[in-house]
């Protein structure tokens, strides 16, 4: 008990942080069920049942925003994981230590850039008059200019590319950390037995990575009803014509409610996203546990 007491005391700051920042504010959930009045405050505002939630379901946009949020996130998770694992494995195969450091830094840079800056980089490519792509189309291919910011059909690809470019560096570093932790004796034994590089990756690296992949994917699934606000709002430059392809739950709530200062409805949307994410993570974790008990989160 004495030794564990010491260890437990180390948890106190973290627990305090969690309590203050993540648990106490949860009481604010009541706002989602109230017609919030600034004069009366949180506790005295009148209750209004599920009225605040109605706008998320009854309008024609409800389907579009839910579909966009879910599908984009699923695509980002699948492609992002595949790309990050590939990069992590490739990083591990590099023998030059200096090159390794250089590549690690380079792939991490996009992750550190603010979305507002990213939106201008994208604009540099897509601007109708001076954009890189339109200049390429006109001067190299002799094609016509494309009005990127008014035609939604290409944006699913653009947003996916931007999201992958921005985030793959960070996740691949996490995977890479797992990869370098794999016991080198396994590889030595394999190469003595005559296994090729490909076989080593296929039968040692990937199976060793599986628990990490499952954990990260589970964590990402918990946020599948949230969207990266910067990506969907800043990168398309808030262009109205693109909304069918760029509107997500977060941007819809932001656009519709900033003018109304409606805290109740905004909280309702946040609550809805959190509950769905929670249910999803529980279900998937249960699924994982029934297949492979070791890999489940809890």
């Amino acid at each position: 008990m004495k030794t564990t007491l010491q260890l437990f005391s180390m948890m106190i700051p973290g627990l305090a942080y969690l309590l203050i920042n993540n648990y106490i504010p949860m009481a604010g959930i009541v706002v989602a069920f109230k017609k919030f009045n600034y004069a009366k405050g949180i506790w005295n505002s009148p209750w209004c049942g599920f009225k605040n939630f109605r706008f998320l379901f009854t309008t024609r946009d409800a389907f579009v925003i839910t579909r966009n949020t879910l599908c984009y996130n699923l695509v980002f998770i699948v492609l992002g994981t595949v790309l990050a694992v590939i990069v992590a494995v490739i990083l591990n195969e590099l023998t030059s230590l200096r090159l390794k450091k250089v590549y690690q830094t380079f792939i991490l840079v996009p992750y550190l850039i603010s979305m507002v800056v990213v939106s201008y980089i994208v604009y540099g490519f897509l601007s109708q008059d001076n954009g890189f792509l339109n200049n390429l189309l006109v001067h190299v291919f002799g094609a016509k200019k494309i009005s990127w910011y008014t035609e939604p059909k290409r944006w699913p690809y653009i947003l996916t590319a931007v999201s992958l470019w921005k985030n793959f560096g960070y996740t691949s570093i996490i995977y890479y950390a797992t990869v370098i932790g794999i016991d080198t004796a396994l590889y030595e034994a394999a190469s003595i037995d005559g296994a090729s590089k490909w076989k080593q990756i296929r039968y040692i690296t990937l199976p060793e990575l599986r628990p990490t992949i499952i954990t990260l994917v589970l964590l990402q699934l918990g946020r599948v009803f949230y969207s990266d606000f910067g990506l969907f709002y800043q990168v398309p430059l808030n262009s109205g014509m693109l909304m069918d392809a760029t509107n997500t739950i977060d941007t819809y709530v932001y656009r519709g409610l900033t003018q109304l200062n409606d805290i109740g409805r905004a909280s309702a949307a946040g609550f809805y996203q959190a509950v769905l994410g929670f249910v999803l993570i529980l279900t998937v974790n249960k699924l994982v546990r029934s297949i492979d008990k070791e890999s489940a989160l809890f």
Binding site: G28, N37, Y38, G41, T58, N238, L260, N261, A266
Partner: protein, 496 residues
């Protein structure tokens, strides 16, 4: 990551709210005790009032101005003021947070419809204070102007001095007008603009013949009155001279305007990146990148290097008076003193001049003719107290000498006359309250966001997209919104 921050902010907001709610429960009790005890003694310490202000220029010297103001305020009103300038860009988020706490007593209501502040219970009722106020203060605004900041018959704020009316003009580059011998007196209607743009486009194909007024907003209003609705869901066309609420896309005014801009866009006159533009028309024209843009104007002199031609004569939209007005937060700890200060800002010339123009000799110098200038080498953008150039954001600039860049030493007198001369929308003072149909309204806002700006700047074909937008609006429930607006308006006009 960003979403996490967003929710973090929300959460922090809640915590702040909870803490504030706790504090609020305790303070009024202790305060009222103090108040009654010390009211008799004349030497009580000055009460500090937080005055929140909007800024579009630099105000790094605000502390200096605050100190000077407090010298006057302590002597005359036994009040201390604390100035908090909030940036235009983060206005809504910041003021919403400020209104939750007690760090904000007086603030300009701007960017959010006044009716929304009232519906959220964020403002103090001012009727009793107004009734008790003195004659000088009461003589400032006419009954119509006062009506403009009432919600359901109750006064919640006091409007400020700026151009209530707008005229809409074409601003053109003086250099190009001279170079191509353009007769600007012949430019009076939208049709007259076409040959001018054609001429400029031919002579200067490298230049945008026309750009948006600012960012992706092609022009800030035109002939339709949104009835206090920034999203233009249901408007009165014809400068608000009818009383029938219509879908803006179906009005003749809107069809004529967008038909014209689309023609210009197709001909290559309008900046093709208009919807992703981030610059103001003014800077594009002054820097020689563009020839012209539409602007909603007051009587102020045009920016040097540009000439203007009026297309739409001045008129006042219904919510003009409440578009920027000064109110008192419901959470204010000192509502009485806040009112005293607010009244002083409208009536005390020394105070108003300090607040708006800064300190004499430091931020401005007096000219002989009654106007002021920046000290040598200083402009609106380099001044360390940029109030004079944003006179329209303050309570009552008519008490102060105008800055010379506005064009006339009698600028504020002329401004008052300009407002009086304009046509006023029939619905003046009407404020739409959408709270009972927020679900349909929110859905309509999203449809309007999609089409309104794109149609206005001509980048999409109105013949094809207006029917499409109408269909989406219909399924979003626009009929219910318009019907409610009409019903509220009829009631308002009957009671007027």
């Amino acid at each position: 990551m960003c979403v996490q921050e967003e929710t973090m902010k929300k959460r922090r907001g809640y915590t702040a709210g909870i803490i504030c709610a706790c504090i609020l429960g305790l303070i009024p009790v202790s305060c009222s005790k103090n108040g009654s005890a010390s009211a008799k003694s004349s030497s009580k310490a000055p009460v500090q009032i937080n005055l929140v202000l909007l800024k579009v220029y630099d105000f790094s010297d605000a502390q200096k101005v605050q100190d000077e103001m407090n010298k006057i305020l302590e002597k005359r009103y036994n009040i201390d003021v604390k100035l908090t300038y909030v940036d235009f860009g983060s206005w809504q988020q910041q003021t919403n947070l400020l209104l939750l706490g007690t760090d904000c007593d007086i603030l300009p209501l701007f960017g959010t419809p006044l009716s929304t502040y009232v519906a959220n219970g964020q403002l103090l009722e001012l009727d009793d204070y107004y009734a008790k106020s003195d004659g000088t203060f009461k003589s400032i605004w006419s009954p119509v102007e006062l009506q403009g900041t009432k919600v359901n018959g109750k006064l919640y704020s006091i409007t400020n001095l700026r151009n209530f009316a707008n005229k809409y003009s074409l601003h053109m580059s003086q250099k190009i007008v001279g170079e191509l011998n353009i007769d600007i007196s012949s430019v009076k209607t939208l049709e007259d603009i076409t040959p001018v743009l054609a001429k400029v486009h031919k002579a200067h194909p490298e230049m945008y013949a026309m750009v948006p007024q600012t960012g992706d907003t092609f022009v800030n209003g035109w002939m339709w009155d949104g009835l206090g609705d920034e999203s233009w869901i249901g408007v009165l066309p014809e400068k608000g001279q009818t009383a029938k609420v219509q879908n803006v896309f179906d009005t003749a005014d809107f069809k004529q305007f967008t038909g014209m801009t689309h023609k210009w866009y197709e001909a290559g006159y309008i900046m093709s990146d208009a919807l992703s533009n981030r610059e103001s028309g003014e800077s594009l024209v002054v820097n020689g990148k563009a020839f012209s843009f539409f602007n909603n104007d007051s009587n102020a002199a045009p920016v040097p290097g540009t000439v203007t031609s009026e297309i739409i004569a001045p008129w006042t939209v219904s919510n003009s008076y409440s578009a920027l007005s000064y109110g008192i937060s419901v959470n204010s700890l000192h509502p009485d003193e806040s009112w005293t200060l607010l009244q002083a800002l409208y009536t005390d010339a020394d105070l108003a001049t300090l607040l708006i123009d800064g300190v004499e000799g430091v931020h401005y110098v007096k000219n002989g003719n009654g106007s002021i200038s920046y000290p040598a080498g200083v402009t609106a953008t380099t001044s360390t107290y940029g109030g004079a150039a944003q006179y329209w954001a303050y309570p009552y600039a008519a008490l102060t000498p105008p800055i010379d860049t506005l064009g006339s030493p009698d600028f504020f007198k002329e401004l008052v006359a300009f407002n009086k001369s304009a046509i006023v929308s029939k619905a003046a003072g009407f404020l739409f309250d959408s709270t009972s149909i927020t679900d349909q309204y929110t859905a309509c806002v999203n449809v309007m966001n999609k089409y309104y700006k794109a149609l206005l700047c001509g980048s999409i074909d109105p013949a094809k997209f207006i029917p499409q937008a109408d269909a989406e609006l219909k399924s979003a429930g626009v009929d219910a919104v318009i019907a409610l607006k009409q019903q509220e308006l009829d009631k308002f006009l009957k009671n007027k």
